[in-house]
């Protein structure tokens, strides 16, 4: 079995443009940014959240706090993945009570990660609203969860993998669709 790259879904420039658009949409649809906060899901949701926050500063100087959430301890499949599941630190330095929170992740797939993230957030308090922004929505949901802000929706088969590579973590910046072939 090997992994082959099937297509590039986004270039660095397209990622940047998409995040700018998502930032605009969030500001536009939030009805005020006073209680707005972004929480990036470890790992690639974190730089994405930071970049969206950065883009928001460019839109009439809105400054929103950015938190970091590691969902490992809230997973429902820990006994299956734990040997790989190295815990990372969460860092949400603002009180989440009554906040208007936008969760940020790279890929929305089964929805289980988001389910876990919401459990994590609700352990910290009771936000007023929680929305979701993702760079890629690839379908195949196993939970009643949808994203309000989607960079791009992609039709995929379950054997395919979407790899979001970001310069903060990876050595390059692009989104690719890869497949496992026998």
């Amino acid at each position: 079995m090997r992994i082959v790259e099937k297509a590039q879904l986004m270039s660095a420039a397209e990622i940047d443009r998409t995040l700018q658009r998502v930032a605009h949409e969030i500001v536009e649809k939030s009805g005020g940014t006073k209680h707005l906060a972004l929480i990036g899901i470890v790992r690639r949701g974190v730089p994405l959240a930071q970049r969206i926050a950065q883009a928001m500063r460019g839109i009439d100087g809105v400054t929103v706090p950015v938190g970091v959430l590691d969902i490992t301890l809230y997973r429902d499949d820990l006994s299956k993945v734990a040997p790989q599941a190295v815990l990372r630190s969460s860092d949400i330095s603002f009180p989440v009570d009554d906040m208007d929170i936008v969760l940020v992740d790279d890929v929305l797939y089964t929805g289980r990660t988001i389910r876990a993230a919401m459990n994590g957030i609700f352990d910290l308090g009771r936000p007023k609203r929680v929305r979701l922004a993702v760079l890629i929505d690839r379908g195949h949901r196993e939970m009643p969860i949808e994203a309000q802000y989607v960079g791009r929706s992609v039709q995929t088969s379950t054997t395919e993998i979407i790899e979001v590579r970001l310069r903060e973590i990876d050595s390059e910046e692009r989104v690719v669709l890869v497949d496992r072939v026998e």
Binding site: L73, K80, A82, V86, L87, D123, L124
Partner: protein
């Protein structure tokens, strides 16, 4: 990166990398101590057996709280109430407990090596919560976490240990752990409690010296570990409590002889006014309460790592399982790890 041990019986066999890994994995659990809602569901459905054949309050409560905050259930066995009083052997008691199907055993026993003995008879992970005068590894880890937080590092520090070192598993675990990171030790206490043999108990090459004047022992110390004095061991004519206070008590004045930023640890429970003055115990350099809080974080990390976080020797989670192909079953590993291959993202 993962850990390479199935049980936690002692710190001696662990590598510096393994220890660093456990300390790093304790950090997310420290954050959880600050959450308004401290309970996770991570170990929901798992059972932690707490078998304390020797009385313990704080270690037992600490492990029990750690288990509860991970969402696990606990079974409690305490020496006074147990059938050991009725003549049952240790192994029979352990087998009985194991037949109730816990997922991990935490045990304390007055005999050195007892947890090692028990681990060889069980197929579930065992955590040693203190075995005689041998080791108390979770205490060593929580002390290291506390030191790392306050000093920023656990490398190459000067550590002074005061008190009854010969009988202390806390001292042994600290020397085993910190010795792997290049720390050097000054042991100080009454000569009967600081025998020459202690100079050789550290990891290869560890500098351990014995000093019998407390002022000299504290000179240049980064960390001062004060051990609990068992007051029943203080008696005339060998050494009275009054003599101990006079000669070895850690007072504010004596502590000024250590480095200005030195920190003070005590595993508890403290005998205020005997081995430590209230002024030092409650002073800015004291980490006693941080040790307690960190203890829960370390024990949560240990319970997490040893129950759901299978060690590396198991089948690699990324390995594809061929249908019908023979499974290589590592010795004494539970069935959990076998399911790893069909884990979704």
């Amino acid at each position: 990166m993962t850990h390479h041990f199935r049980d936690l019986l002692a710190l001696e066999p662990l590598s510096a990398d393994d220890i660093t890994f456990v300390l790093d994995q304790s950090r997310p659990f420290q954050e959880i101590q600050r959450h308004p809602l401290k309970k996770l569901a991570t170990l929901r459905g798992k059972t932690v057996a707490l078998a304390f054949f020797e009385t313990s309050t704080r270690t037992r409560i600490s492990f029990g709280t750690a288990a509860a905050r991970l969402g696990a259930d606990t079974m409690n066995l305490q020496a006074e109430a147990s059938s050991l009083k009725k003549g049952e052997s240790l192994l029979d008691t352990i087998h009985t407990l194991n037949a109730m199907k816990p997922d991990i055993l935490v045990m304390r026993h007055a005999s050195s090596g007892s947890s090692d003995f028990v681990a060889r008879h069980l197929d579930i992970p065992v955590i040693n919560a203190g075995d005689g005068m041998h080791e108390h590894p979770s205490q060593g880890l929580l002390d290291a976490l506390t030191i790392r937080e306050r000093k920023g590092t656990i490398e190459n520090l000067h550590v002074t240990i005061l008190g009854d070192i010969a009988h202390s598993r806390v001292a042994r675990s600290n020397i085993q752990l910190l010795g792997k990171f290049g720390c050097q030790f000054t042991l100080c206490g009454p000569a009967m409690w600081v025998p020459r043999e202690l100079e050789d108990i550290g990891p290869q090459g560890t500098k351990i010296r014995r000093v019998f004047r407390v002022e000299e022992a504290l000179e240049g110390a980064d960390v001062v570990l004060v051990l609990r004095v068992q007051t029943e061991r203080l008696h005339e004519p060998a050494l009275s409590a009054g003599d101990y206070v006079l000669l070895y008590q850690l007072s504010a004045q004596r502590l000024r002889g250590a480095k200005p930023d030195a920190i003070v640890l005590h595993p508890g429970p403290m005998n205020r006014g005997i081995e430590i003055t209230p002024e030092v115990a409650d002073g800015a350099q004291s980490c006693v309460l941080e040790q307690v809080t960190n203890g829960i974080a370390v024990r949560m990390a240990l319970l997490y790592l040893l129950t759901v976080g299978a060690p590396e020797e198991g089948p690699h989670p990324a390995a594809e399982v061929q249908p019908g192909a023979p499974q290589t079953t590592p010795k004494r590993r539970s069935t959990d790890a076998k399911d790893a291959s069909h884990a979704p993202r």
